[in-house]
Amino acid sequence: MGKKTPLYDSHLAAGAKIVDFAGWDMPLHYGSQINEHHTVRQGAGIFDVSHMTVVDIEGNETASFLRRLLANNIDRLIPGKALYTCMLNEQGGVIDDLIVYKVSDTAYRLVVNSGTRDKDLAWIKKQAEQTSIQIKERTDVAMLAVQGPKVREKIAAIFSKEHLQKILDLKPFHYTTANDYFIARTGYTGEDGFEMIVPANQAANLWEKLVSSTMSPCGLGARDTLRLEAGLNLYGADMDEKVTPLESNLAWTVALEPKERNFIGRAALEKQIQDGIQYKLIGLVLEDQGVLRNHQRIIVENVGEGEITSGSFSPTLSKGIALARVPAGTGNHCLVEMRGKNIPAAVIKPPFVRQGKKTF
């Protein structure tokens, strides 16, 4: 028996197939993960993402601490704004990817992956040892994601007029608060939507209200195919401590300017740039029928070999798609070894789908 989110009973009542995910009993789907996927691309879906770890960091030294801890630069933030970033080790390897929200000059919120919770907290605390910073994991909250083109109209019935206006006015990667709710215009699907961090004891009630406003519950299965179509990396599959953001299609999240900001991993990344980056993370689309799978071997003729890091089936495109790490010199085509045969695939720059439409 794993850990249960405050929405566990709601999932059972909705007929969820429950699976273990990083020690949590989470819904994989509520009948059909493909239908749930289409619902998010065309309508509105609701996900329980309460397994994710929310960490509040406070104290006078917080900003200088985060400038050193994170590869992206929190000086890009103002209160109410969020930033996607990696947290690196000294070798430039990715400890985790996360979103950091600025609350004030001395208070920030991090949302990190559940699978990396223990090592993330240990690392953050170790880096903060010589400081007076307070690091507090928020185990008293739940997190819901509402995603899809019809989300904006469907949340209208849930919020007061004043709160609704603040929420609808949010720009991407901004957040606001409404009573006890922390609501950000972020997500992991490639569709418009919001992620809501709410007190654990109010989560089931909010879930009920959102479901009665005809948002369909969606499980982790659809979440994975949605994020893959959107070209969004999954920690542990597409990157980990053995690779840097520069080999993971995440160079855009590394702020090398200003040069004097000495974040952890910086020296290793600079050396990697100087020596030449050997690998890149790209998108693959299978030209024939079939499904791409994690760890399938990639052959790039006259260049070298690579590996699929996340492979699946795209419900939107009805094709096998994948993210793969391949030699930097890879062109527009490669071969994928599938059950002993070499099958041609097209190389694209992710995403595959954004806001319901094919992007390559």
Binding site: H29, V291, G320
Partner: protein, 133 residues
């Protein structure tokens, strides 16, 4: 609990087997069980055997792929493939929707009418229950 119709036979590898008559000849129809489709989740791609090809019992003869995983399908009885369910190639989710009906995979002319290696519904149900622990 998943549906395990009493009138069918089963293999340890989660195929169901039905004895049918075609042109006064005894043939068998093969599919995957409700339990198997439920474990795999939404099916998205199917590879079926060629008509007239022959297989030993337990030999791989088809592949079903879901979003989550690929599974080999084994021919449960030695025989020759006489028909495949071409509708599945267009709509693999028929297996999820109706595993014992519209989701059938292929029909076999058996070389051997000895079905004693196959499981009854009760035996298969017990196997599934023991796998769950």
């Amino acid at each position: 609990m998943n549906n395990v119709p009493k009138k069918l036979f089963y293999s340890r590898t989660h195929e169901w087997i039905r004895k049918d008559q075609k042109d006064q000849e005894e043939i068998i129809t093969v599919g995957i069980t409700d339990h198997a489709q439920c474990m795999l989740g939404d099916l998205v791609y199917i590879e079926l055997p060629e008509i007239d090809s022959s297989f030993e019992d337990g030999q791989e003869c088809a592949v079903v792929e879901s979003v989550k995983a690929a599974a080999d399908i084994y021919c449960p009885i030695p025989g020759e493939i006489i028909e495949i369910n071409e509708e599945l190639l267009e709509n693999p989710q028929l297996i999820n929707q109706d595993p014992y009906g519209k989701g059938w995979l292929f029909r076999v002319r058996p070389f051997d009418k000895n079905f004693t290696k196959l499981l009854t519904a009760d035996q298969y149900s017990k196997q599934v229950a023991s796998e769950a622990h």
